[in-house]
């Protein structure tokens, strides 16, 4: 999460689709931290507004002070300001702070009337908005009827009707005179075709047209696959962004026939605030992203309530399944893997083979069978790191895989010396017929698939042997222990895996796997695949020691 704090100053919608609820959901979906100053409560649902309780203006001021005196706010969005007294309170407070230079950009959504026709801003408050709030706003975001109302108040008294793109531009030019830096005039209520947009943009060659969710050039096949391709005669929605610099942008999107449009205005202005808080390159970029977020929210909505339901604010987020690292556990992903197959893992690292080895009671024949097969297995293991090097895309990962091959070659050297103490020659090691358990495990590694899975497959072995070594070593130092290292014929084996060189290699492997998990941040499906690979390797390890104990071929 970023610590980009965004503040909404608006009304509350009990049903959660509009007002500060829509704002807070939008902030969360953008990874921003949301604070809210509530100007009024509404008892509201998808069928309409059943009641309004205005908050005392002085309590609005108290909330503003609580938030702005404590938090570092990166953007402010204003919505329903209820009445003249509340509007004046907000304007006075923000103006005072603006003049001390401490305020971030303000996005003003001049909410006047709800979609269902309920008055959300009293007549006498409109003037305060125009003369007080607009001049300190980075952007105002009126819809058609709000823009008409505001323009008629600001204009020469004559009515200004918006019925096409040209009258929109006219009205935007009136509104910008209030002193705001930019006007986003929402054209959702207009009926327009893509052809209309093309004609007007021909008339205003300086206007930039941004098509969103509309297939462009060189996409004949994608167009052919659409159930409802956008063509010249297709109805589209567009918004007009007019900036005080004169820059004009048309944002065009497919029109979606949907009843899930409750709270779109709140959502759009909130999303612009988030984009600015997060450091958008330009206002145009911020508005374009916000418009697309809102558009996709309508598209991804499912029915909620009996009337005009809310859009889906959560379409742009998904669960993150990787836990953060901490002082008490820097390996949360590894822990998750182990816990996902804890019983198999236990059967592996606490195998009877391991226990007998620790006691020093392991039959020599079983150990010799194991150590010979382990020699053959390590050849696969080294080759698998070769495969990992081959699949690498950076010198770092090539180096790390190669380091491990060197470690294995070193292990093999020790292996041979150690085996000779059991009277096994190098020739005998090489001539050993491969047991099925060895082939199964080795060939599985070579077949594991992509490099991420291969890292996980290889870690089950690397970590498990380190775990066994450390466990036996630790047990041996305890009072009344069952592990006896002095005089144990397998002491050297335990010390090899408990030793700093091996343990260091394990730590490097753990780091690699943990960072991989964070960087890939898997979906649920992907995580399931990873768990499967882990469990399989844990099982193959267990079988390997079963093979040693049963002297199986």
């Amino acid at each position: 999460m970023s610590t980009d704090v965004v503040l909404t100053i608006a009304g509350s919608d009990s049903s959660g689709g509009a007002g500060i609820q829509a704002d807070l959901k939008t902030f969360a979906a953008h990874g921003c931290y949301g604070a809210s100053v509530i100007t009024a409560l509404t008892a509201q649902n998808t069928l309409g507004v059943q009641g309004v309780h205005a908050c005392p203006p002085d309590f609005v001021r108290q909330q503003l002070d609580s938030v702005l005196d404590d938090l570092q706010v990166r953007a402010i969005k204003t919505g329903m300001l209820c009445d003249a007294a509340t509007a004046k309170t907000v304007v006075d407070n923000l103006t005072r702070r603006t003049s001390s230079g401490s305020l971030p950009p303000i996005i003003c959504d001049p909410v006047c009337v709800s979609t269902s026709g309920h008055t959300l801003l009293k007549e006498d408050a409109v003037e305060t908005l125009i003369t007080g709030l607009f001049p300190i706003s980075a952007l105002i975001t009126p819809n058609k009827s709000e823009a008409e109302l505001l323009a008629s108040r600001m204009g020469s008294g004559c009515e200004t009707k918006i019925d096409d793109l040209e009258s929109m531009l006219e009205v935007a030019k009136i509104l910008i005179k209030s002193g705001c830096k930019a006007v986003l005039l929402k054209g959702g209520h207009l009926s327009t075709t893509l052809h209309d947009v093309q004609s007007i943009s021909a008339k205003f060659p300086d206007a930039r047209v941004i098509k969103q969710g509309i297939l462009g050039e060189n996409m004949e096949i994608l167009l052919a696959g659409c159930a409802a391709p956008i063509q010249a005669e297709t109805k589209v929605v567009f918004d007009l962004l007019y900036q005080s610099t004169g820059q004009t942008t048309l944002l065009v999107r497919p029109r979606i026939e949907s009843s899930s449009t409750h709270g779109t205005g709140c959502t759009l202005s909130s999303a612009v605030a988030c984009e600015l808080a997060k450091g958008a390159k330009s206002l145009e970029d911020a508005v374009a992203s916000a418009a697309m977020y809102t558009h996709l929210g309508i598209l991804a909505a499912t029915a909620i309530g009996q009337g005009y339901g809310p859009l889906n604010h959560l379409h742009s987020i998904q669960p993150s399944l990787i836990y953060p690292r901490s002082l008490t556990n820097p390996y949360p992903f590894t822990t998750l893997l182990i816990q996902s197959a804890s019983e198999t893992w236990r059967q592996y690292v606490e195998h009877d083979f391991v226990k007998q080895l620790g006691r020093g009671t392991l039959d020599r024949a079983n150990f010799i069978h194991f150590i010979k097969q382990d020699y053959l297995y390590l050849k696969y293991y080294a080759r698998a790191y070769g495969l990992l090097a081959a699949k690498s895309t950076s010198f770092n990962t090539i180096r790390s895989a190669t380091d491990t091959i060197y470690n294995v070659l070193h292990e093999i050297g020790q292996h041979k010396t150690y085996c000779s103490t059991f009277g096994i020659s190098e020739a005998e090691l090489e001539d050993t017929p491969e047991a099925s358990a060895t082939t199964a495990y080795g060939a599985y590694l070579m077949d594991t698939g992509d490099s991420t899975k291969l890292v996980m497959a290889l870690m089950a072995c690397l970590l498990g042997y380190g775990e066994v070594g450390l466990w036996l070593k630790k047990q041996s130092s305890m009072k009344d222990t069952w592990v006896v290292l002095e005089g144990n014929p397998y002491k050297h084996w335990v010390e090899e895996y408990a030793g700093e060189m091996y343990q260091g290699a394990v730590r490097i492997g753990l780091e690699t796997m943990e960072s991989l998990a964070v960087s890939e941040s898997p979906s649920e499906a992907k995580l399931e695949e990873w768990k499967k690979v882990w469990k399989r390797c844990t099982m193959l390890e267990k079988s390997f020691w079963d093979m040693a104990m049963d002297l199986k071929d």
Copy 2:
């Protein structure tokens, strides 16, 4: 997003860390739809509560009716109920609905006093909570001081102090007599060690102990890697869940030294409500997940404000970068890829080779050079699908890859026949020396890496040729067109790629790629890798036609 609606009935925290703001953030992080009935507004920040404005009880009722008469609520969480009148309003409304059997589980967080010591529930409201709300609650979630207060009201008048696990259990047994189904008694204010927990659980062998975020058995190496491993003497936090069935559960977690704990109580109860709304297997499961969510939120917090800051509600979500499919664009991921390399894509599908071919003016030598190299390229292409089959994990993907190999073999058959009309024999095709552009492209495919990337690499070719075929075909049917198919020596080539067989294969490929993107739901790092593969293949395609035009080796 699920349409699991969760309702919070609580106060508003202007600073966004607690109250309905914490609840709505928690709902969003769990993918639930949040509605909220506000009982009181607070002017509050990380330093304390500066003011409280109680909402008129009748307006609380109006909000309840607006929400509960319209939305299908799956769980309700109650927080700050402010005063006796408000508490009574809420209790009466919920009780009436409970008796008509229409209410989902209620999680009651009996908020009495803020962390900073501000009274959030007036004395005279406590009785209403105990006698009215607890009996209809699935769970109540008091902290130490709330539990002590409630128990002293319910008990025989004597003071009940909580100072260890045993007194916690005693108090829980008093509270459960209120008629609630379960008590979650939060022990965050107690100082306990892991050793204490072990002793008590020995005394109560029926109590289940769930350790969370604490490394378990067979994790010696992970423990050894901790900067602050949890040991017997380490301070831990635990909560006690006591159910009316007598089932007792202890939830134990590492204690985190943090000043980001504002709103943890609100968050925990909200998270339980979400888990129940989403259909948790048991209350114990729901509580365990919620406790872990809250714990990780504290762990992942960054400083906000000057005092006790909020936890991080968004730690469990990440951006979803794949857009939803729609009627106007069923291929949003493919669109994203094309747009990420739009200029290269245009240079490929509108290559001069393609335009001259469409006009019928392409030099015969260029076409022959192309068609011979294409023959060699198609061998790589078929082999790459073999590789894809080899990397498959389901018979479906094996079949789909194999189908494509058959399609290529069919294309090769046509190729030979077609080549013969240009006087090129099969032997000549086979003997053609491979141009560098062909090797580059073919070898790149074989080297692409994991199967997801390979699907994308192969689609750049499959889609591009389909695009070119369809584009030329469509142009040829327009008035005043520059594409001439009648008498065009390359007419057959255009019709092959514009034809239904090839276009059908493209559509299947698009489906595969789109569903793969949805299922893998890539992180930003992964998506960047995918875009790189796409751009590279688009570039290799362009180079292939450059090679044809320049007759390059």
